[in-house]
């Protein structure tokens, strides 16, 4: 079995995790820029982080035969400070030509505030200006339904954005349909405690089909499982899904979306 891990925060993971992923059949890992678990005190912290994602982490992954790609942006948890966000966004263009950068992400909303929305719009503007793919984080728990609707409105109102070049991540049963109906891609995140279990993600595949959907672990420094994608593939097999259908969801689909960047070659 081969698979792509399209959303993993490997800077927070151990080298052992890279080894386990490689042993499980991972061909490539993609790492969106995200919150470190604490707020960075200045733009310099983001500069160092973007260097880590584009220089250091690909070397760590390569030791296990894994290709490493990344997305750059300021995450919604640090977007309340608009001045800092402006400084971070000004940094990003100098990194966009680096060979493992796939686009702008993960951007989006967390608590659905006015400033978060403003920073999201600024980053959509950046993506449009530089013709970048976009990866969007949707809020957690009770905030997800509202946040997803606000995010979709931002994209619907910007005619420069091609929906098939946007992935809305962390969908659940109450948001997946509205995302697919807009022509965008939807990511299902497999978490042990929140978001989706493997069983529920497969339920959504059986309900909505296999087009424009992918699975990811979003493993980070919290409760998460870097092998969530291959474990879900195993559960699909138990439920009678054919090998071709499983490979489409865990390999071909993310490859189709990511290759639009022009850099995703595996």
């Amino acid at each position: 079995m081969r698979y792509i891990e399209p959303h993993a925060h490997m800077v927070s993971r151990t080298t052992d995790d890279y080894e386990r992923m490689a042993l499980a059949g991972c061909a490539a890992v993609c790492e969106p820029a995200f919150w470190a678990g604490f707020d960075r005190s200045s733009v310099d912290g983001f500069h160092d982080y973007f260097c880590q994602l584009t220089e250091h982490e690909p070397k760590r992954a390569a030791k296990f035969g894994l290709k490493h790609f990344c997305w750059l942006g300021i995450n919604s948890k640090e977007a309340e400070d608009v001045k800092l966000a402006e400084e971070v966004i000004a940094l990003i263009p100098q990194f966009l030509k680096r060979p493992n950068v796939l686009g702008i992400g993960e951007i989006g909303l967390n608590k659905n505030s006015r400033n978060e929305l403003r920073v999201l719009e600024m980053q959509v503007e950046l993506a449009a200006k530089h013709n970048q793919l976009i990866l969007v984080h949707t809020p957690h728990l009770e905030d997800k339904f509202k946040g997803t609707r606000l995010i979709l409105d931002v994209f619907k109102n910007d005619k420069r954005i091609q929906p098939e070049r946007v992935i809305i991540d962390h969908v659940e049963e109450h948001t997946v349909e509205m995302v697919l109906d807009c022509g965008m891609w939807a990511g299902m995140t497999l978490y042990p405690e929140t978001k989706c279990t493997p069983a529920r993600a497969i339920d959504m595949l059986e309900t909505y089909g296999h087009e424009r959907l992918w699975l990811n672990s979003a493993c980070d420094w919290g409760v998460s499982d870097p092998l969530a994608v291959p474990k879900t593939a195993l559960e699909m097999k138990k439920r009678g899904h054919l090998a071709g259908a499983i490979e489409k969801v865990i390999f071909a689909n993310p490859k189709s979306f990511l290759r639009q960047s022009g850099k995703f070659k595996i």
Binding site: W35, K77, E80, N110, K111, N112, S113, R114, N115, E116, L117, P139, H140, L141, E142, D143, K144, F145, K146, R149, L150, E172, E173, H174, A199, R200, D203, K238, R239, G240
Partner: protein, 88 residues
């Protein structure tokens, strides 16, 4: 999958989770002090389980969700509590 196959694969786990919910309610009802909005929301969601309607997972997620659409003035903290404190 047939119903039999679904039950064979998932019944024991679903039974386990249902008993965990019952034990959680016993635990919270034994505890002192008043309920808060989370428990109210939880009970409202539970009521949706006992129905012949389809899409129960979606209905439960919506029962816990903020149904409004206006952005808030300022993010108060970073985390989410799991239930909407307002009314649907």
């Amino acid at each position: 999958m047939t119903k039999q196959q679904v039950l064979d694969l998932y019944f024991l786990n679903a039974r386990h989770q249902l008993i965990e919910i019952a034990a959680f309610l016993d635990r919270v009802e034994r505890a002192d002090s008043k309920d808060d909005f989370r428990l109210k929301s939880f009970r409202a969601a539970l009521a949706k389980l006992d129905s012949r309607e389809k899409h129960k997972a979606k209905a439960l997620l919506l029962a816990f969700s903020d149904p409004t659409k206006r952005p808030v003035a300022k993010a108060a903290g970073k985390s989410a509590g799991g239930a909407y404190p307002g009314s649907h």
